[in-house]
């Protein structure tokens, strides 16, 4: 275990081999490219023994890990997937125990970590964790509610983090999820932008704030932010209690993708949809090749994404239960852990209507966390996919006719 800087020089390209060729990452501009063996060779990378291995969908290691560095939060939002409160945090790993886990990520050549909580800024050693990631050649990114951002933090964070997203679910005076995150979030965003940070917004989309998306995107563009990410509400943690009342309606689910494109065009700012929204994109039958080329992808849990909880235990995704594997054992766990089976086996075992869907390989059945909550089954198609919903209605009607 060491906290010495051992990664590549800041700004240097980073790369690792994969069976298809290699993945190359740059921070400026922020690019992550999968290249084939021919291009890898042309770019000067020596051939790898991995290139003779049979292809597989899961990468050799995660590209990105989501680190819950604390369960503590200064807020207690009703939709919190971590069930965080100001009193939580007793199970958080100290910095000294994060270091060997960052070493494990560095050995696997993980490119990015997204640091969150809880509220990561409730940890006085947050910057030390991020610096330790940087020192190991891993780009740290951050999600925050912004309430604890100070000018001093903003100044240091601007050069340390690749990007910082501030959580804002609606603009004042509207409050959603039981708290006012927007007032401190907007102040923090201004401070971070002023300090030169690359700043975006995370917006959890639910029934009550769907109509407020446009005003948040307009504000973000005007405030000099670089993007808005729209996150589907997940039935995890405290959000389970009111999920059925707060989730998007069918009409809102179908409207989300065209609305995001309209807002991006109108305000000139990139709008992202999170992986769980893939069924709401696929239902509009977009260009599949373009989806795949630019990774407009559905569930990548256990394929290129790793979740890590506040105790250092891994899972395929932050919204999905793991099996207790420790991040220090990543090299074995990524290859062998049963945690990833529902994710990695989804396509091979896909049920109808996913099995016959043209978007199966990109959407991958929608959100595993939503499917598990609504059906109790790990391998069920996402019941909120419009196509899955229509199929269930048709089957129900057919069964009724037979009865």
């Amino acid at each position: 275990m060491s906290d010495r800087a051992s990664g590549p020089a800041p700004g240097a390209p980073r790369w690792r081999y994969e069976r298809f060729g290699a993945i190359i990452a740059l921070d400026d501009p922020p690019i992550l490219a999968h290249v084939d063996q021919e291009l890898a060779t042309d770019l000067g990378l020596p051939p790898s023994p991995l290139w003779t291995e049979p292809p597989r969908e899961a990468l050799e290691a995660p590209v990105e890990a989501h680190l819950t560095v604390t369960k503590r939060c200064n807020l207690a939002c009703t939709h919190c997937y971590q069930e965080s409160t100001p009193a939580a945090g007793a199970t958080d790993l100290p910095l000294a125990e994060w270091l060997p886990r960052l070493d494990a990520l560095a050995r696997a050549r993980v490119f990015h970590v997204a640091i969150g909580g809880g509220e990561a800024l409730t940890r006085p050693d947050l910057l030390a964790i991020a610096e330790a990631a940087r020192a190991r050649g891993i780009t740290p990114n951050l999600t925050t509610n912004g309430a604890l951002v100070t000018p001093e933090f903003a100044a240091r964070a601007a050069t340390l983090f690749g990007q910082i997203n501030v959580s804002i679910d609606a603009l004042p005076p509207r409050h959603v999820f039981g708290v006012d995150k927007a007032t401190p979030g907007m102040r923090a965003a201004a401070a971070l932008v002023g300090a030169g940070a690359r700043v975006g917004v995370n917006l959890v989309v639910a029934r009550a704030n769907f109509a407020a998306i446009g005003e948040v995107v307009a504000w973000a563009a005007a405030a000099g932010l670089v993007e808005v990410e729209l996150l589907r509400l997940k039935p995890t943690g405290r959000a389970r209690a009111r999920y059925l009342e707060e989730r998007l309606t069918r009409e809102q689910r179908e409207r989300l993708f065209p609305l995001a494109l309209e807002l991006a065009t109108r305000h000139g700012i990139p709008v992202k949809l999170d992986c769980s929204a893939a069924p709401f994109v696929a239902c509009h039958a977009p260009d599949r090749e373009r989806m795949e080329l630019f990774e407009v992808a559905g569930c990548i849990g256990g394929l290129s994404l790793l979740g890590v909880d506040e105790r250092g235990r891994t899972s395929a995704c932050s919204f999905y239960p793991g099996r207790g594997d420790d991040l220090v054992d990543l090299a074995r766990g990524w290859q062998d852990s049963a945690s990833y089976a529902p994710f990695r086996d989804y396509i091979a075992a896909a049920e109808e209507p996913c099995r016959s869907c043209a978007y199966l390989s990109t959407c991958r059945g929608g959100c595993r966390a939503v499917a598990l909550f609504l059906t109790g089954r790990e391998n069920a198609p996402d019941p909120e996919c419009p196509r899955v919903e229509d199929d269930a209605c048709a089957r129900s009607s057919a069964a009724g006719a037979i009865d």
Binding site: H112, L231, E295, F319
Partner: protein, 95 residues
């Protein structure tokens, strides 16, 4: 220089307009990308993912013109070539 077909010859000004966040990506001049590259970019992800719970993908790719995909991938390949040669190919390499 306007070749969006993937041959590696790029109209950098045009691509800058398509991808304002990417800019010239350190190419500096179109001449820096003048050597055609063999092989291809299989997937390209632009930007970071700061969200610590799920992964966001940039759907604005659907707003690009029909020829943009090939052009953007060519630009990405040229950027990688430029950066790997500039920084040294050993940088960040597996040990």
């Amino acid at each position: 220089m306007n070749d969006p077909t993937g041959s590696g010859l790029l109209d950098v000004a045009r691509l800058r307009a398509l991808l304002p966040g990417l800019g010239t990506a350190g190419l500096g001049s179109a001449a820096a990308s003048g050597q055609p590259l063999r092989g291809k970019v299989l997937k390209l992800k632009l930007g970071f993912n700061p969200n610590s719970s799920s992964v966001g993908t940039t759907i604005v790719v659907f707003l690009w013109t029909l020829v943009a995909s090939g052009a953007v991938l060519s630009l990405a390949a040229a950027v990688l070539a430029h950066r790997l040669s500039r920084k040294g190919r050993g940088a960040g390499a597996p040990s």
